[in-house]
Every structure is written in structure tokens, then in C-alpha cells.
Amino acid sequence: MAVSTTIDKVAPDKTPDKTGPRRPVVYRSLSSDRKWALRWSYFFLVLFCIFFLMPPVYMLITSLKTSAEISADPATTNPWWVYKPTLENYVELLTSSQFLTFFKNSIIVAVSTVIITMLIAIPAAFSLARMKFWGSTTLATGVFLTYLVPDTLLFIPLFKMLATLRDWTGIELFNRWYVLLVIYPTLTVPFCTWIMIGYFASIPKELDEAAIIDGATWWQTLTKIFIPVALPGLIAATIFAFTVSWAQFLYPLAFTTSNDQLVLPVGIISSLIKGDVFNWGQIMTGALLGAAPPLIIYAFLMDYYIAGLTAGATKG
């Protein structure tokens, strides 16, 4: 790299044809180049940090204000400052049984979705990556394509399907949190399967051949070799599935209505917005509290997650 840069810089100077206008060649040391690259990176990093942290900071500020302070005239007071900080909003939400129900529903739904997703995606990915059967490549592509269909397009057909299913089976499927356990996997399974196919495909073929010769069944090869070896990918997929089901808004809005069945994102909106009255303090508090579980999970699994996103590319 160093050599080629020098050559690039020197070469124009040495060309015998000197008719055209020429830029003066500036000789700079590599370390000064690097220093400037670093300065620019930090400049943009800081810029992006400010840009992306602005909304959560504003949420935090708002959540610490009283209703009166929130509605104060911005001409006379600075909205970016809390004059009389209070934990009132937090206390009120955390003691409200309704909010706790939303929270509980969200956790049950998200955790169950992750489990269901993994139970489907891992064996699916394993068979698509390893067991060559008729149509397996087409199927793998198909799995990916389903992920490309936006969920906004799907919820009406899904609604119809569930209605038919309810009429057949007699099981009530609407306005029940457990219907989300059937619906969310339609979002998470394709993507997680696709991630895991990539991971499993990057495991050398000889590894499962060695396991088979050692006497492992397909199932043992999966549980004792593939899952441990592809653990970073598995964790990446888990985080993805959790985040998607935690943040899902459209489907629960369409499929659940009564307060005891709602999950957090819908619950906050429907219980804290009364007509055109927005209880901003509590909405912001609820949103912040709702953002906590994914944050905590990211914090714990971040190393794995990053390793997971980058690993498949190279053999490690």
C-alpha cells in the first residue's frame, strides 16, 4: 500500500510529456495521512452520535418533567432543560397494573417467538445447508424471498387466513396475545433461517463427514457440532428475532384490541393517548422503559453479535 501510493504520487512528475497543467506533488508522510483520516472519522462519528442520540435524550428529558412543565411555552423556557426533575412518571407507570401487563405480554411474546423461531430456523437451515435434496436450493432462495415481502402487505391476507382457521377449529384467534406467536415467526423465521444457512454453509464439509464417521447421527451432528460451532450466528439470529418481535407494532395493532391482551408498543399508544390528549411524559417514560430490555440484551451479547455479523465472511 505504502509503495503504491508513493509511486502514484511520483509517477506524474516523471512523465516526459509536460504540456498539460500539472498539480504540484505534495509529499506527505504516511502517519500524517493517517492522522487526518482519524480526525475526519472522529468528526463524523461525533456528528452521527449527536444526530442519533438527540431523540432518546429528548425522551429522557421529557420523561423527567411534570405535565405542566412539558406544556410550558417554549418561548419563555428552554425545552432542553428540566427545571423541576421528578420521577413521578416512572412511579406512576411502574405501579400501574396495566403497564405491567403490557410489559409481561411483550416479554412472553418476544421470548416465546425467539424460542419458536429457533426451533424452526435451526433445523430448517441445517437441512437446507447440508442435506442435498430435490429442490433444496430453490427452497433456500424462496425462504429469502419471503423475507423481502413487506409485512404491511401481508397482514390483511394473514387476517383472512386466521379467520378461516378460527372458523375451522373453533379456537378464538383474534384479540388474544398468543396469536402473535403464530404471526411473528412469519417475520423472523425466514431471516433467521437465512442467517443460519450462511453460517452452516461456512462450516467445512469435512467436519460433518468426520462426525458421521465418528458415529454421530444427523441430530447429534447438529446439536454437538453445528450449533456450538455456529454459536455467534445463532446469537445474532436470536437478537434479531427478539428485537423484531419486541418492536413489532403493526401486527399487534391489527390482531389484538383489549387492554389485557396488548403488547407494550401498542399498549402505550392506546392507553396513554386519550382522544387528542397526549400524556407525553408517560409516553416517553414508557418508550424508554420499553427500550430497556433490548438494550440490556445488546449490552450482554454485543461481542457475540459483532462477531456473528462479521464471522461468516472468513474462516476462523
Partner: protein, 366 residues
């Protein structure tokens, strides 16, 4: 401990025949090496023995049992792969004991076998390490250890040394030979490197284009190759071939290479080739070590000729000389003190006691 028999073994990939009906008998305790150029079907053959590849035709027998439809785990074989295929998340001990643990061996027995194999391979201190923390040679040992602990009927090796550097390869080659002398398990070993084949094998199987060209001990293959392919493949630098015809002169037989060059054959060779006289396109095959510098006292059967050298390669112990004989590229091995110089002339001798005559059309050694 077992025999392995291949009968008319065929492997088809779609419409392409990768293995074209080979017959081979491997005796108990034997070390057999399958050798041949890349793509000749060695790995495919080995993988069919392992059960990793379906058999398209013919039979494989292990100990007189047809195993065509027996899954790999029930064939009682162990395989060592080119890239070692160690389980990256397990320690060396866990890697070696994986098969035994799956078969629910008692703990004490596992510990005993792993300890024993580790001792044979000298990896006792590495047992708690993960593969990532091992060098190439150590990984190779662990891969062998994993095969040994299972105490299988047959060891299968697929180019196990190809990922190692030249020096380590020589070292591990000797290691593998020692291990075989210790455990005496029937072994099928695949390589494209003829030196590996010659040094390791009890018997070498030379394959080419999906068929077996010749089976024999290293010495047999070296001295009595049956085809031009085997003659050229075994030995390094490889055998020289130069077009020639036979001429009878009274009671003597000569190979004529050009109008200027002809060699009279020694008697025992003349007797062998007498019937052929005259017709047919022939190739004279001579190994480099049988094209030497002219010395004071030459054995009977060594005939002198003048060579105009193109390039010389001093190897220390000897010097390789490259020259042309009637247009054909030749390589000879001469004494470093023979005065061989790039572009210089050299008085040389061809040892016709070790000559081969090959039918240029069929490629068969006559």
C-alpha cells in the same frame, strides 16, 4: 484388522464416470497408497470405501462383508482429512474421544485409549488445548489420534500432508510410517505426491483417469512400469522418452534415435526385444540416473554419446543436466565434478541395462 476388496467399483457423477470399474485387493495390515494426478478419482474411491459417497456400481467388501449399503459409522473405519476437520470447539481430548463418547464407552476405557494414542503421537501435553492453539503438524497428529483411539478395522487418509510445509511433510511422513508399524491397521492412503507414495506404501496403486494403471510394490513400479504413464509418473525427475526405432545388425540389436545416434543394446535386452524388430513407432525410456557422465570404466551395456547441455542444476550431491536428443528434452544426473557447464558440451553415457521400450501408440511398456 481387516482386508478390503474392491470389485468392479464404479462412481458416476451425473453422466461423468469418475471411477471406471476398478478391482483391488488390500490385505490385512497392509499400507496401500492410491496415487495419481489430480482428478483421477483417488478421493472418490477412498470416500466410497468410507461410505461418504454412494457406490454407482460394483462392490466394496470389508472382511468378506459387502458394505455397499452399510452407513459409515457401522463400517468401522476412521478417516483423516486433508484439512484435519478437527471440531474447533472441543479440546484435543474431546476431539479424540468424540467417537467413543457417542458409542457410550466407559470413562475409564476412553481415558486409557486417549492416553495411549496421545503417547504414541507424543501429544500428551496438548490434550487440554483447542485446535486453534495448535500448529499444523500438531493438528495433523490430533487428527491421527482421533483415528487411532477408535481402533478401527481400516484407516483412510486423504492427502493428509498436503497442507503442511515441505519440511514438516517429510517429518510427518516418517511419523505416519512409525504409527503404522505400531498399530498395524490396514491403511488406504491417498496422495498425488509420488514420493509420499513410494516412501510409505507396502503397495502403490497408480490411478489415472478413473482406472488403475498398475499395482505393485514401490520397487516394482520403479523398475518395471507397465505403461508409459506409470513410467513417467513414478520417479523424480521423471523418465526421459525419446522416439526411436529398432535395427538389426548381424546378431546385434540397436535402437536408432536419429541418423547420427544409435545405441547397441546389451544382450539380455536384445533377447527381450528381438521379436519386435523393425516395425512400429517406439519410445526409448531412460531414467535420468541412467544418463550419466562418461567415466573411465563403464559397465557393459553403457554406451557413450556427446551431449550439448542447455542448463545445469547443481544439487550438491549430484548435478542435473538438461539437453536435447534428436529434439526430445532430456534430463541426466551427473557427478558434480564431471565439468558440466551451462551451454557446454559433455561426454555422457546411457545405461541401456535399464532401458525401457514403449509402444508409442498404446503407451504400453514392451
Amino acid at each position: 484388522m481387516a482386508d478390503v476388496t474392491l470389485r468392479k467399483l464404479v462412481k458416476m457423477y451425473d453422466q461423468v464416470q469418475a471411477v471406471k470399474g476398478i478391482d483391488l485387493e488390500i490385505k490385512d495390515k497392509e499400507f496401500v497408497v492410491l496415487v495419481g494426478p489430480s482428478g483421477c478419482g483417488k478421493s472418490t474411491t477412498l470416500r466410497m470405501i468410507a461410505g461418504l459417497e454412494e457406490i454407482s456400481g460394483g462392490q466394496i467388501l470389508i472382511d468378506d462383508d459387502v458394505v455397499n449399503d452399510v452407513p459409515p459409522k457401522d463400517r468401522d473405519i476412521a478417516m483423516v482429512f486433508q484439512n484435519y476437520a478437527l471440531y474447533p470447539h472441543m479440546t484435543v481430548h474431546e476431539n479424540m474421544s468424540f467417537g467413543l463418547r457417542l458409542k457410550k464407552f466407559p470413562k475409564a476405557e476412553i481415558a486409557k485409549r486417549v492416553g495411549e494414542a496421545a503417547r504414541i503421537l507424543d501429544i500428551t501435553e496438548l490434550l487440554e488445548r483447542k485446535p486453534k492453539a495448535l500448529s499444523g503438524g500438531q493438528r495433523q497428529r490430533v487428527a491421527m489420534g482421533r483415528a487411532i483411539v477408535r481402533n478401527p478395522k481400516v484407516f483412510l487418509f486423504d492427502e493428509p500432508l498436503s497442507n503442511l510445509d515441505a519440511k514438516l511433510r517429510v517429518q510427518m511422513r516418517i511419523e505416519i510410517k512409525k504409527v503404522h508399524q505400531t498399530v498395524r491397521t490396514t491403511t488406504v492412503y491417498v496422495t498425488h505426491d509420488q514420493i509420499e507414495a513410494m516412501t510409505l506404501a507396502d503397495r502403490v496403486v497408480v490411478m489415472n483417469g478413473g482406472v488403475i494403471e498398475q499395482v505393485g510394490t514401490p520397487q516394482e513400479l520403479y523398475h518395471n512400469p507397465r505403461t508409459r504413464f506409470v513410467a513417467a509418473f513414478i520417479g523424480s525427475p521423471s523418465m526421459n522418452f525419446v522416439p526411436c526405432r529398432l535395427e538389426s545388425h548381424a546378431d546385434q540389436l540397436a535402437v536408432r534415435i536419429s541418423n547420427e545416434i544409435a545405441f547397441f543394446m546389451p544382450e539380455q535386452k536384445a533377447a527381450r526385444y528381438k521379436k519386435l524388430s523393425g516395425d512400429g513407432q517406439l519410445l526409448l525410456g531412460l531414467r535420468p540416473e541412467h544418463l550419466t557422465d562418461m567415466r573411465q570404466h563403464m559397465e557393459p551395456g553403457c554406451v557413450p554419446f556427446d551431449a550439448q547441455l542447455e542448463v545445469t542444476e547443481p544439487m550438491g550431491m549430484e548435478t542435473f543436466v538438461y539437453f536435447k536428443m534428436n529434439g526430445a528434452d532430456m534430463c541426466g544426473r551427473v557427478n558434480p565434478n564431471a565439468g558440466a557447464l551451462d551451454g557446454g558440451p559433455l561426454k555422457m553415457a546411457a545405461d541401456l541395462n535399464n532401458m525401457h521400450l514403449i509402444d508409442a501408440k498404446t503407451g504400453l511398456v514392451l
